[in-house]
């Protein structure tokens, strides 16, 4: 083989090697499976696991929220899909909602999830007809209102409100 081919192969190998090492040290995968998933994200071929998502959606509709969230996590391990993350945020809202008081811990986690949706796609709009709130902004306002203590919290008529 000609000497220049060796030189070319060497340069190509070093560039590819450094890109791969840089990718690993920046994305910090915790297992070989995560290397694949993060690689898919990096090259733009990442897709959610549709079967797990459907299972999660079924549990969400049965009000089995912790199970739904674990299925959504398996469907979207990289938390890159706005629709899945919207359901995760919504599940925190529905689980944390209370007629007398809300669960602040769950609402805070819901807020983090809905902020992820806004970062991923600020114009996201859910096509699910069973949800009252369709956009992450509506959900975010509801979660933020739920975390605040205001005079309206002491309004007895508030007991008649319904979960969205």
């Amino acid at each position: 083989m000609k000497e220049k081919y060796f030189h070319f192969l060497c340069v190509a190998m070093v560039i590819i090697g450094f890109v791969f090492i840089g990718f690993l040290y920046v994305s910090e995968p915790r297992s070989l499976a995560e290397v694949t998933t993060k690689g898919q994200v990096a090259i733009g071929t990442y897709q959610i696991n549709r079967a797990e998502f459907d299972l999660g959606l079924a549990d969400f509709r049965r009000d089995s929220f912790p199970a739904a969230r674990s299925e959504f996590d398996r469907a979207d391990p990289e938390k890159r899909d706005p629709a899945t993350q919207f359901y995760v945020a919504y599940s925190y809202y529905r689980e944390g909602w209370g007629r007398f008081s809300n669960d602040d811990a769950l609402f805070t986690q819901g807020l983090a999830a809905v902020n992820r949706v806004i970062l991923l796609d600020s114009n996201f709009r859910s096509a699910d007809e069973t949800l009252v709130m369709k956009t992450p902004i509506e959900l975010k306002n509801e979660l933020e209102d739920g975390l605040k203590i205001t005079t309206s919290d002491f309004n007895p008529l508030k007991l008649t409100r319904e979960r969205k």
Partner: protein, 245 residues
């Protein structure tokens, strides 16, 4: 030496042949190569060496989590880059590498780029080797770091040849490996159980872990770093003083 009708073939450089002046114009002189074939040498220099150094660069910062063996990729501390730069100066000063033999005006751009790429992989591997051998934090980081600096600084002003430098590096890195992965790793408690449980089970280890701020990693980390160190030293052994033209 082979003499045929029109050719004289000389093996080696020591043979001296005196010829009649009139015959010189009719004689062609060939020197047969007694070194290894060029392709084999190029394969080692341009394919094997970068592969070795890239692997060392990849694995040098890899640790395994104590509880779940999850990958933990640690970026090198700034001091590792300083040590690696000083080490490269040491390689050039001792004659292990000849800078003019790697980068020269006479070479083509691609040739120089390939040689530079190998030197960059050597630098990256050296950075990551220090990353692997230096304790991550606390007092051990400063003590071992100071020992590295002291040794490299002394070596910079000593008369070295390549062989002695290699021996010195094997001793230095071997000792650092033993300190981190044999001594300090054995002073670290496992993260299982509560704090009280660990104190009752092994008060000495728990005290050392707390005092020396030792991180807890899986035992597999030591095996990975041993492999990395071995690979790096093989790379140093294989690297030629000058890249071939």
């Amino acid at each position: 030496m082979n003499i045929s009708n029109e050719h004289i073939e000389i093996d080696g450089e020591d043979d001296v042949v005196e010829l009649e002046p009139a015959a010189i114009a009719d004689i062609s002189v060939y020197q047969t190569s007694v070194t290894k074939p060029r392709t084999q040498s190029s394969t080692v220099t341009y394919l094997l060496l970068p592969a070795i150094f890239l692997t060392a660069a990849l694995l040098g910062g890899l640790r395994l989590g104590a509880t779940d063996n999850a990958f933990i990729f640690l970026k090198p501390a700034l001091v590792c880059l300083v040590f690696a730069a000083l080490s490269l100066v040491l390689f050039f000063r001792s004659g292990l590498l000849d800078l003019n033999g790697w980068l020269a005006d006479d070479n083509s751009t691609l040739h120089n780029a390939a040689n530079l790429a190998i030197l960059v992989t050597l630098f990256a591997a050296t950075v990551q080797l220090y990353n692997g051998l230096l304790p991550e934090q606390g007092l051990p980081f400063w003590v071992v770091g100071f020992c590295f600096f002291w040794t490299i600084w002394n070596n910079l002003f000593a008369d070295f040849d390549a062989k002695r430098l290699l021996r010195s590096l094997i001793a230095l890195f071997g000792l650092a490996f033993a300190v981190k992965y044999l001594i300090l790793a054995n002073l670290t408690t496992s993260p299982t159980g509560s704090w009280w449980q660990r104190i009752i089970d092994n008060p000495g280890k728990e005290a050392f872990t707390w005092l020396l701020d030792l991180p807890r990693y899986s035992s597999g980390t030591g095996y990975i770093q041993f492999f990395t160190l071995t690979l790096y030293l093989i790379g140093l052994f294989l690297i030629p003083r000058r890249a071939r033209d």
